[in-house]
Amino acid sequence: MLLISCPWCGDRAETEFHYGGQAHVAHPADPDAVTDAQWAQYLFFRDNPKGPFAERWCHTAGCRRWFNAVRDTRTHEFLAVYRPGEPAPVLR
């Protein structure tokens, strides 16, 4: 079971969290201005890298707040956690 560091609460067990998929997938500002293909891209297409992946988590059974994390999908290691609105950290 992963140990996840909530940016507000600190280290907590994975069972307190809810996974929210890829981070930084912005809702199109004007949905009427995008094509069907662009809209489908927003709705259905997500990256699936082997390696570092920026993703969203919510501390559902804790502070109920969302945050972002970079996790290595090969090892499940959390390389960074950061608050919504903050840019994804540049990892060396």
Partner: protein, 943 residues
Amino acid sequence: MSRLATGGRIDRTAPLRFTVDGTSYPAFRGDTVASALVAADALTVGPSLYRRRPRGVLTAGVDEPNALLDVAGELLPATTVDVVDGLAVNTRSGVGRLRPEPDTARYDKTFAFADVAVVGGGPAGLAAALAASAGGARVLMVDDQPELGGDLLAGNDSVDGMAGSQWVAAARETLRARPEVRVLSRAGAVGYYDDNYLLVAQRRTGRPGSAAQRLWHVRAKWVVLATGAHERSIVFADNDRPGIMLASAVRDYLTRYAALAGQNAVVCTTNDSAYPTALQLRAAGARVVAVVDTRTAPPRDLVGRAEVAGIRVLSGMVVHGTQGPGRISGVTVSRLDRDDTLVGPSQDLACDLLAVSGGWNPAVHLFSQSTGTLRWDGDLAAFRPAHGGRRQRVVGAANGTYPLADCLREGTEAGAEAAEQTGFPAPAGPVPTAARRRGVLPRPVWLVPGTGDPGEWRDHFVDLQRDGTVADIWRATRAGMRSVEHIKRYTTIGTGQDQGRGSGVLASGVIAEALGVDSPGSLGTTTFRPPYQPVSFALLAGRDRGPLADPVRTTPMHGWHVAAGAVFENVGQWKRPWYYPRAGEDMETAVWRECLAARTGVALMDASTLGKIEVLGADAGEFLNRIYTNGMKKLPVGSARYGLMCTADGMVLDDGVVLRLAEDRYYLTTTTGGAAKVLDWLEEWSQTEWPELDVACTSVTEQWSTIAVVGPDARQVVGRLAPGLDVSVVGFPFMTFRDTVLGNGITARIARISFSGELAYEVNVAGWFGAATWESVLAAGADLDITPYGTETMDVLRAEKGFPIVGQDTDGTVTPQDLGMDWVVSTRKQFVGRRSHQRADAVRSDRKHLVGLLPVDRTALLPEGAQLVEPGAGTTDGRVPMLGHVTSSYRSAILDRTFALALVRDGRNRIGQTLLAPLVDKEIAVVVTEPVGYDQEGHRRDG
């Protein structure tokens, strides 16, 4: 009797008796069932699962394949079951039997947090724990044995100049004196998960009234694995007889339990480790017929010591057959050529015990579970750890490090590192010392040939639990299989109760021979998965079973419902009254009566389980405008509005009623089952997409009790209940709410909302006043025969009006337009999912629509889920086109007939058509209608 007069670590002052398969045996405290059987000369267990061959105790540890016991319904190796007085167990042939009666034993679970967890209490683990705890770190030591010490208790090695067992005793005292150290004995680490999360199953004995087992959930900052190594056997003809044991097990029984496994022993080995067994057998008075060593040049020192003891060493030879008929009575040995073929004449040696050592496998199971990788070491002829996880070390025999002195050094270094890495000082103490000797490398032999075609070697056993043989492996490789994973599944080798703990690497060795590859190294191992040892479901469940398996939610009126004889329905975790049968009524008649009461008189329902959410903030209106498909920003204070929300792909997510309490304050209801999902949904959008909006959401489900008062007489009842309230049609119009004080003195918020089409009020009071207010409503309607109704009647009433239930009439592929609810979808604002309603798939004309169905036979009740087809639909291509399915189906009291709702392809254009619902034994013809089956004009809502 084979119990020696002295020695061992058993408590001879505590004699015990126990039975196996009804036969009584003596034992001492400290015995396992297996050791007591060895001491009683009763090695034979079994027979084997498929071949019904006699088998005996093979090992002294968790890797035991043969001596399996049914212990109160659990299938456990006899080597891990401690004897307690009066214990009664039965042997099982590899397969347990689930007991039908409930397990009444108590199981507990607990959580523990450690700076350093050390798994394994042998020399490496003890050294690690001593070093890790020296600076005050919180150290948790997990050992599956009854007492710490591991191999030091069985051997005659010295540490720091004292006998091994003395050093262990001193180490134990040192650990005991350190307050932050906790030692778990009889505790098997069964699972090793991400971020150093260990699951530990601890067996507890001799504590009447306390939990039989305890499950530890352990999170450690650092883990040191010192799990040791398992000896493996060799595959030769008839290698499965009782009296054939692993050499280390023979030694364990002798030194730890003073039990002599045989009087005339042959030792067969590929390595140095079996020599102490031979010498200790001799010292205990047994005759050692010979040590058969596969190496042509065994180490001179060991050979010399054997010869001094009068033991013959047959070098470059191997056992290739055994005699019975039951227990072993002799072995056949031959010279082993360089290419593992047998040469020269055979000789027979009489014996009643064959101690085998085919080499050692580091116990890498937990290491591998934690995603550690392995490499093949040709010198050791074993898989050993290569790359481990973060914040973890593996030491000692588990790491392929066998010399005692090196185990102690590795353990000490890993313990000191663990202390430093977790923020504690690591005083540079001395490494415990032990004697060193220069060993000779093993000469591994996996498979001793028989005669003829290996495909016929059916008595060369690889997996004793599955009766898996060399013939099985050849059959698999001749069928073209190359992967150990495929061969495992094809032969079932490694799938028994022991999950291949003893047979896994041995099977890889035999497979390598079958495929003609150099070594198991190029094949790898099968995947190691938890649990490492068998764990009972009862232990995993602990006390979370029966009524405690899942939380039960009840409303403040629950006691009244129970007293009224309600039949309950589970809705999520809620218990909701389903219907209230009167004497002699079945469900159908009760629901019929409840429906008529609501349509023609007055009825009440406990609606407290509805999800309730308050949304506050200056931007609450704007926020809800973006969430709901219809406008909420301009909803006047004091008014209510039905609202629907969609997911981003345009499908219906949930629905409910929105009340505007103040400019900056809304109150939302959700479906009973959707409350948590909707709150999460609101949080997700407000936090991640629109953080600039001033809005906060909170659940108030438990804070309010809600009573629906429904029917033409509802106005009269509510007027009596709330004497200060103007309940006239003009004074209290539909879709408004009023805050008032009831006649019983309780403050209430009453809304004119209807989920039945009838005149209806929802009376909301503070949660704890729910029961009192329920009684007040009943009193106010007593002379009108006010009738409580349950969820089934609610469902019928709403279906008569064509109101869909999200999750019953929708399934995540249904848009508001599919439901015919375009009226609730705004075209003048953006909302979540709106763009998706313009996608080609959403606007095609032949989507499934919500429609009503009226069976032609007014009494025929459609099953929910029934498929619908066109009458006479062709079956020439073998398939009938499915048009849709029934989502809700009931008997309507007010219509005096059956009816249903359904999702039907192009349904709105089929209104008036007749379709068929083909069932197993009949077809039901139905006419497609509008979804609203009663009071299409909506005249009844104002009473």
